[in-house]
């Protein structure tokens, strides 16, 4: 293996890392901060992807001159669509089940089945593809043998921006402060005058919105189908659990490790066996570190 191939491998790993980060950020908020398992998280990604798809159709027929920016509009729209859906979901279903985390898994699983079928019946049973905007086509030719696809570079940038925005939001704004307060001590936060119910809804919706962004950006890499979400869900959970559910940085670090492992495993064996190997490895690691690799040591009430 020469230097060029090493560079390509590292880039592939980096790319997978950012994809996993985007997928896992939303879940890290919903699962990590709220302790809610949303099995329909993958379908929310698909919802974001479909939103982007429809945006592209809209731009293609009504605003062809502005087609170059549809993708940015699509990402923002995807965020808002899934955000609103997430808010409704929290108010309509999740809030009744906070005390029963296992039941939440089952109820949201049911929701994911319904959403999949809705996609299949009312959008398209087959996979749909979006037209990549011209400025993201092609690749950056670094050296003669190393070329980095622009779409993947864009996703890397997007992931960095999103992660930074989430971090800034949680640690530098009033809303972020409220979210952290409710997560750490609900009763005390309530006593201090925070409307905990609204914070719950907002936090959940935010996680869903992030799923929408992730799904939206994936339209560049792969086509979107009714079962797209299901394909992602286990990997996403694994990233969050592996990193330790209560730390965003842990999630990012674990996405990095799993991304690199995936890239290197795939170099030596088939893609599906690489996935199986990583899942197994994570189960083994969880055995030694049940709270994840980067769990913060805090005493729980």
């Amino acid at each position: 293996m020469n230097l060029d191939m090493m560079a390509m491998q590292a880039f592939t790993g980096l790319s997978v890392f950012t994809i996993l980060t985007l997928m896992a950020l939303g879940l890290a908020i919903v699962f990590g901060l709220m302790g809610v398992i949303n099995m329909a998280h993958g379908e929310l990604m698909a919802m974001g992807a479909y939103t982007t798809y429809f945006t592209s159709l809209f731009f293609a027929s009504y605003l062809p001159s502005l087609f170059g920016i549809y993708f940015l509009v699509g990402i923002v729209l995807a965020f808002f669509v899934t955000f609103i859906f997430g808010w409704a979901l929290e108010r309509g279903l999740i809030r009744f089940l906070y005390k029963r985390p296992l039941d939440t898994m089952l109820a949201t699983w049911g929701l994911s089945l319904i959403l999949q079928q809705l996609f299949r019946q009312f959008i398209n049973a087959k996979e749909v593809e979006v037209t990549t905007v011209s400025w993201l086509k092609g690749a950056w030719q670094v050296t003669e043998n190393v070329s980095l696809p622009l779409s993947r570079i864009f996703i890397i940038v997007l992931a960095v921006v999103t992660a930074a925005a989430v971090y800034a939001f949680l640690y530098r704004t009033r809303w972020g402060l409220r979210i952290r307060a409710v997560t750490q001590n609900r009763a005390m936060a309530g006593a201090a005058g925070i409307n905990t119910e609204r914070v719950d809804a907002f936090t959940f919706a935010l996680g869903c919105g992030l799923a929408g962004i992730a799904g939206s950006s994936f339209t560049m890499l792969a086509s979107t189908g009714p079962t797209t979400g299901q394909a992602y869900i286990v990997d996403t959970f694994i990233v969050v659990v592996f990193g330790g559910v209560e730390s965003l940085l842990g999630t990012i670090a674990s996405a990095f490790m799993i991304g690199q492992m995936q890239a290197w495993f795939e170099y030596s064996m088939s893609g599906s066996m690489a996935r199986a190997g990583i899942l197994l490895l994570v189960i083994v690691v969880l055995y030694f570190r049940p709270n994840g690799l980067f769990a913060t040591k805090v005493r729980r009430a």
């Binding site: 398992i37 699983w109 049911g110 089945l113 959970f237």
Partner: protein, 375 residues
């Protein structure tokens, strides 16, 4: 020595002993008398298929309802049982000259005695781990010992480290994903996405005749009833009481000197045994071992059987499996596109409004009836 647990069950309604026996006898009568009389062989075969899945549901009641452990990977154990049995049947049919699965073909490839899909995938020597499955006794032992052992080791390791709740659910979910991926990926050794199929005989007996189907139905129903009895026996023993105590307040049980991990791992192993039995019977009757019964989707679907029937009711789980199974057949025969809506709504409605399932509903009605009588 711990003092014996008090013999009162505060929550159980009056006369629950008699009620339990009565509902078991009703189920037995339904499965052993009513179904065989009322159904033709085709429908009876379908019922047997659902009953094979009911084994998993009964196990899930033990693990989830009474152990508080939600396993989303029962398909793994079902799949192990199913594949072990399929390997045996496949080797029998590959070694059998009368079998339809192409002796001409294997003679052509010079691979007599080798399962057909191996020849197609240019695997020329039977892998060593297939060898013991030539023997029926080994196969049965493997089905009875393998999955529970895997479950016990996995469960004990995780529970000892206090990986519980949703984390354990995710671990089991990942296991189900791994197993499906490996089976599909290693086509030459496992039959891949098509599974292992095309076998006709078990120890020389033809599995395809009507008579064999009826016999297999009775074996399935009988074993299932035995599993229900065994589960009830466990729950009524002191072990069962410790289990419920662990579900409700694990830390207190630990402080009392018990090792919760051991109890939880044990019940997880029992559920795995039930699932594996169901898997083996499924394969014998449906003639197929397939990754589509192993992965995440079927594994989670098994939980809904138990949830519909009632997570606290072993008998309810059987009804749950039958009802959901029939609903599935009904939908796939009439309007297949509505099945996902149905099961999706079922998941949500049962969890939100009927957490104790149909059995809970029956109990509530009965409680109302008894109270009225008392006045």
């Amino acid at each position: 020595m711990a003092t014996p647990a008090p013999q009162t069950t505060a929550s159980a309604p009056r006369g629950s002993n008699l009620w339990g026996v009565g509902s078991f006898l009703l189920l037995a009568a339904l499965l052993l008398v009513v179904f065989p009389l009322a159904m033709d062989v085709f429908r009876l075969g379908l019922a047997a298929k659902y009953l094979s899945l009911a084994f998993c549901a009964v196990g899930i009641v033990l693990v989830w309802g009474y152990g508080g452990i939600l396993s989303l990977g029962q398909g793994v154990f079902f799949g192990l049982g199913s594949y072990f049995m399929a390997m045996f049947l496949k080797l029998e049919s590959a070694g059998n000259a009368d079998s339809s699965s192409g002796t001409a073909l294997s003679a052509f490839f010079g691979t007599a005695g080798l399962p057909d899909f191996m020849a197609w995938n240019s695997v020329e020597v039977l892998p060593w781990w297939w060898e013991p499955f030539h023997h029926v006794s080994f196969t049965i032992l493997a089905i009875l010992i393998g999955p529970p052992l895997v479950a016990f080791v996995l469960g004990y390791a995780n529970f000892r480290k206090r990986v519980g709740g949703v984390y354990f659910s995710i671990v089991t979910l990942a296991l189900a994903a791994i197993m499906a991926i490996v089976i599909i990926g290693q086509q030459g050794y496992t039959g891949g996405v098509n599974g292992i199929t095309d076998f006709k005989t078990f120890l020389g007996m033809d599995l395809d005749t009507d008579r064999a189907k009826v016999v297999m139905y009775f074996i399935t129903a009988g074993l299932l009833l035995l599993c229900v009895l065994f589960g009830a026996f466990i729950l009524r023993s002191r072990l069962g009481r410790v289990l419920v105590a662990i579900r409700d307040r694990e830390d207190r049980v630990r402080f009392s000197g018990y090792d919760p991990a051991l109890f939880k791992a044990f019940i997880f192993a029992v559920a795995a045994l039930f699932s594996a039995l169901g898997g083996a019977l499924f394969t014998m009757q449906v003639g197929l071992a397939s990754p589509s019964l192993v992965g995440i989707v079927p594994s989670v679907e098994m939980v809904i059987y138990a949830a519909v029937g009632g997570r606290l009711s072993l008998i309810g789980a059987v009804y749950g499996a039958l009802l959901v199974g029939w609903a599935k057949t009904f939908f796939s025969e009439n309007f297949v596109e509505f099945w996902p809506y149905f099961i999706g709504v079922l998941f949500m409605v049962v969890v939100m409004f009927l957490p104790t399932g149909l059995a809970g509903l029956v109990d509530r009605l009965r409680g109302r009836f008894l109270r009225r009588e008392g006045h």
